[in-house]
């Protein structure tokens, strides 16, 4: 049975089309990363899957049922936003409240121990640090022994140690047979966890493939150099970008920004081909820059391997 089934879903907010004919299926045991820049529609999609909102058209099924029905959500685990915990309630009270909704639950003491929150059980959630709140949020998503876990930006703003620890918890859950759909605008996070990646931008699915396939397409490097030859059609150059506007030098060379999957190979090629360039800079492309390739209507989606 498909765990999450999103079929031809469109959702508007006023004039803004948040999701435009989106279809995604997630099968049991999959760990899918939903990757996209802020405002791409990731959170809207999750809010349709968790039953908070209704699609304008299309269908959403969760564990075979309508997510708007409470009974369909018994197998669903969701993280609250860390800022959203009821500040005056104690940690154990919040855990018990959430756990009380589920027929089968993890004992509070076990859950708090797993997430290193045992000493915090009697503290009010408002007294927790940011990292502790985030750990509690993820712990809450697991308290009902869910079959599917929705994680919305689970580690945004966490330090490296806390992030690693949460990743371990998600991996542990997945290793036990759980299905996970997580959103992130960090490539690194999706890379660390997901097996399959769905890239979403401006409400549309731009790509849906195995992690390594997506990585090859979005993990671009940026090569900036000044050269009098136009290098935009050079083999390995996925696309050119608008670099910092630098006036042409005395030799008439133009500043060019090239996006490529393999910066080393490109530079080697240029050197071997005896192309004259100067002021070489190589740096990673941000996710937004990488997405521009998929979003650009002129760029062929199959063009990444050029």
């Amino acid at each position: 049975m498909t765990v999450i089934q999103v079929d031809g879903v469109t959702r508007r907010f006023g004039d803004v089309v948040a999701l435009d004919d989106v279809s995604i299926d997630v099968g049991p045991g999959e760990l899918v990363g939903l990757l996209g820049p802020n405002g791409a529609g990731k959170s809207t999609l999750l809010s349709l899957v968790n039953g908070q909102r209704k699609p304008d058209s299309g269908t959403v099924r969760l564990l075979g049922g309508d997510p708007r029905d409470a009974a369909s959500r018994i197998g669903l685990g969701v993280t609250p936003q860390e800022t959203g915990l009821p500040a005056t309630l104690r940690v154990s009270e919040v855990v018990d409240f959430v756990a009380g909704h589920f027929p089968d639950r993890v004992p509070t003491a076990d859950l708090l121990e797993q997430f290193g929150l045992t000493e915090m059980a009697r503290r009010q959630t408002g007294a927790l640090s940011g990292g502790q709140k985030r750990r509690l949020a993820v712990a809450l998503s697991l308290v009902g022994k869910p079959r599917v876990l929705l994680l919305d930006e689970p580690t945004t703003g966490l330090d490296v140690g806390a992030r690693q620890a949460l990743w371990e918890a998600v991996r542990g859950y997945h290793a036990g047979g759980g299905t996970v759909l997580l959103t992130s605008h960090y490539l690194e996070e999706v890379q660390a966890l997901a097996q399959r990646v769905v890239v979403i931008d401006q409400g549309m699915v731009r790509a849906d493939a195995a992690l390594d396939v997506i990585l090859r397409r979005v993990a671009l490097r940026q090569v900036v150099l000044t050269c009098d030859t136009d290098l935009s059609a050079w083999p390995g150059v996925v696309r050119t970008g608008t670099g910092p506007a630098v006036p042409a030098g005395a030799d008439g060379g133009a500043r060019q920004t090239l996006f490529t999957a393999d910066a080393d190979a490109l530079v080697r090629d240029l050197v071997l081909a005896d192309v004259h360039f100067r002021d070489l800079e190589v740096r990673g492309a941000s996710l937004e820059e990488a997405f521009a390739e998929m979003v650009d209507p002129d760029a062929s989606l199959e063009g990444a391997g050029r």
Partner: protein
């Protein structure tokens, strides 16, 4: 943090939804805890009816020393306090809760609107009764208001029934609009309802046309039923029908507003 894998239920869980009664209890405990963790709000809520009594009724000796008038005045104030607390704390409370990120999260838990609303009503009832205690003490010490224990219990029972439509109306407002708008609407709704319902001035002083309108309001129905319980007067015919009718109407509005609500509409 240890990383013992949390074993997800690989096989479908045998259990279904938690029973509505247990769910209501769960939400009630949660809401009650949230309410009492801010003691000033609780204390203010408890003292407001008693203070109103001390300022507006006790100084008017001809009312305060007339057993029947004093009892009626206490009943009116009690009803107003309960309406006001239900509309404000719970109508507005819903609107404010909706602006917190925890509310959309709670809506993803496997529970429908029923238990949450039932819990709100019961929570409202608990604080209504708590708010009545100081009022009753002030009335007992400083006015001639008299009731038997049986009348007092009957009066409290009527108040508990009568507050339901106001909590529901508050929720219908709270789920339909942002907190600032809800505050304005609650104020606009509360005072005319209270006045037309005869909670400030006895309806005997109303002209006929106002009296006719008054009898259609839930506040008037509640007031007269409370008066009956406390002083043995006969309420106008149809008082129960009006009160229960509004309860149904507001329940439908509240459930409709809840279902339409999809949280804040920002993007």
């Amino acid at each position: 943090m240890t990383t013992a894998p949390q074993s997800p239920a690989a096989a479908p869980t045998s259990g279904g939804l938690v029973t509505p009664l247990r769910m209501t209890w769960l939400h009630l405990r949660f809401q009650f805890l949230e309410s009492v963790r801010i003691p000033m709000a609780v204390i203010g809520n408890m003292l407001f009816p008693a203070l109103a009594m001390a300022f507006f009724v006790v100084p008017q000796q001809e009312v305060a020393q007339n057993p029947l008038w004093a009892t009626t005045a206490v009943a009116g104030l009690a009803m107003f306090a309960v309406c006001s607390a239900s509309l404000f704390s719970f109508g507005l409370g819903v609107a404010e809760d909706r602006q917190l990120p925890f509310d959309p999260y709670v809506r993803t838990l496997p529970a429908g609107p029923g238990p949450r609303m039932a819990a709100r009503i019961v929570n409202s009832a608990i604080f209504a009764v708590l708010g009545l205690l100081p009022l009753i003490v002030v009335a007992w010490l400083f006015t001639a208001a008299t009731v038997t224990v049986l009348q007092l219990l009957a009066g409290i029972a009527v108040i508990l029934v009568a507050l339901v439509p106001f909590v529901l109306l508050g929720m219908a407002i709270g789920y339909s609009m942002p907190a600032k708008a809800a505050l304005a609407v609650v104020q606009v709704v509360l005072f005319p309802l209270a006045f037309a319902g005869g909670l400030f001035l006895p309806p005997m002083m109303f002209p006929a046309w106002l009296d006719a309108i008054s009898k259609l309001t839930p506040t008037r129905a509640a007031r007269d039923l409370l008066d009956q319980a406390l002083t043995g007067t006969t309420p106008y015919a149809g008082a129960w029908l009006v009160l229960l009718g509004w309860t149904v109407v507001f329940a439908v509005l509240a459930v409709g507003a809840y279902r339409r609500d999809e949280g804040r509409r920002f993007r």
